[in-house]
Each structure stands twice: as structure tokens, then as C-alpha cells.
Symmetry: D3
Subunit: 65 residues, 6 copies
């Protein structure tokens, strides 16, 4: 029954998502007594211009580096 | 007042979304006493590599078929 | 694969939710070629003081009536 | 058309939410050319035990102070 | 600690998002006693065919004008 | 920058959430090159009457057992 919605900056590979999905599902089974078939996961990719923290777009933080 | 956010695999047509929006709004009016003008609906399309259930990406499940 | 998250004002009964879940799932199967077992639905109930449209809390709109 | 979903720690007053709703809606109208009647806002209150950053629950951070 | 997720029709510029992020963060600090570094904001852009209110897609409303 | 929103059935303990937050954050750092301080996590607890899959409320599935 957990639905896990991950909103993050675009760019992670399918391989990273594949690994995360396996490990996230295992984590929910081990730590939250979920059944694996009930764990749904969605990755919502957004550009760096569409995510912000501390009053600044991630895209602008990256330019400062 | 309901906001309905539907996260699903990309690929549904505008026609499918149009039909769903009409029927979803009717459903909220009939079954949940909502006013039609207060029902907002957003479809968040994600690729098959960004959605998973039962520890596996939908993209990988499709390859297995 | 659709996850449907409905954020709305608290107060709908379990019976209303039961009916909506049946009809929403049917709708996704008929109109969006989803498999019923892949349709997950979550109702996020919030008080009328925590939902707003057109610049006004629903709780305040109700007081105006 | 913007739906703004704010997930935060419970405890803000209705008066704070009232003020935020007015100012958020004005902001969307002024900066994002939205129509006020199309701006919907939902506050999802969660306890401090249900929110975390930097690997720690907010509830535990508060105990450390 | 507030996470603000704004789902809206695609098309707003980075400059609009930059201004909104600054003002939204200030608003959370002033009105909701949040720390700026704890305010995270994500813009989820969707096409006009993927957003609806009052039973109609925004894309169809725009055609009516 | 990932915001992880987990919508699930209420009842998990603070201890379970504490463990999950630590392991989820580590996972994002190891597998998705996230900085720990940028990982935010929110658990949205809903009653079993407010979550459904395969056309049935979790509360009703539990009664069938």
C-alpha cells in the first residue's frame, strides 16, 4: 500500500531507477511490513529550473559553482 | 474541491483524457457531492522507466512479455 | 499503473469512498486501458480550513452562506 | 490552473492559512498570469514524526535543541 | 519544512519561476515561521491537454476563446 | 533535491519512520548522487478506508481475511 512519489531533478539513468526501485521495495517490505506487490513508485523528473530550495532555483545554484 | 492528481504511464491520447475528465467530474458530482467547477484534474505523464510496482520498472515488465 | 491521489475536504463516508473506488477503477479500465490490479487510489482528507480556491478558504466560503 | 499542494508540519493556525491563501493567490496572479478562480491550494498537515530532511525526523531535530 | 508542489500548465519562463521561488520562500518565512533553507519548491509542468477543471480540458477551453 | 512523498496506511510507528528516513536518505545518496541535506521525506498517513487497489478499499480487503 505505500505509493512512493519521488520528485527530483531529471537526469538519473534507467539503471539508477531500476536499482532504486529494487532497494526501495525491499526497504518497505523489511521496515514497514508492506507486501512487495503493493508498493508502487513513481519518479517525477523536473528540470533544474523547476526545483528550488532556500529561495533559489537549483539551476541558479549550479551556475554559481 | 477535490483535486485529482493522476500519475500514470505516458501514452494516453487527448481523446482518452477528454473522456476521463468528463466522466471523472460527473462521478465526483454524483458520488461525492462536489460542484463541477470545483473539480480540478491533473494528469502527470511519466515514462515506463519511471513507474514501478512489485520491485520492477514497468519498462522491464513490458520487455518480459 | 495509474495512481490516483484525491485531495479533498474531509467528511465523505466510507460508503462514498467504496463506490468511488469501484467506479474509478472501472473508468480507468474502460477508458485508459489500465489493469484493475494496477490502479491504486488514495484519498487525502483535509479540513475545510486547509483547502482554498479563488483566494479564500473553503471554511470561510461556507461561513458566508 | 495552478494547484498548489503544501505538505508541512501541523500546527499553523487557520489565520496563518487564511493569510497565506490570499497572498499565494495574488502571487500567482501577478507573477504567473493565473486567474484567481483557477488557483487551488491544499495544505497537507503532517506530524513532526512524519517529516524529515538530512536523514532525520523533524521531531528528533526538535528534541536535540 | 514546507514542500510546495505546484502543478500547472507548462509555459511559464525560468524568470517567472525564479521570481516566484524568491517570493514564495519569503512568504513561508514571514507568514508560516519556516526557515528559508527548509522550504523546497517543485514546479510540475503539464500540457494544457493534461489539466482540467469543471469537466473540461484547459486545451479545449482555450480553443473555445 | 529529491522530495519523497510516501502515502500509506496509518499505523507505522515513529521508530519505523526513523529507520526508513535514515535508510531512504542513504539510498538516495548512494544510488542517485543526492546530497543528504537536500533529501526531504514526508509520510502521508491515511486510514485503511482511504486507500484502495484493484477496485477495493484496503479496509474491506482486511475484513475478508
Amino acid at each position: 500500500m505505500p505509493h512512493i512519489q519521488i520528485t527530483w531533478i531529471e537526469g538519473r539513468t534507467t539503471e539508477q531507477k531500476r536499482t532504486l526501485v529494487t532497494k526501495l521495495t525491499d526497504l518497505m517490505v523489511q521496515e514497514a511490513s508492506a507486501k512487495p506487490e503493493s508498493v508502487t513508485i513513481a519518479f517525477v523528473d523536473v528540470p533544474a529550473e523547476s526545483y528550488a530550495s532556500n529561495g533559489m532555483l537549483v539551476a541558479d545554484k549550479r551556475k554559481q559553482k
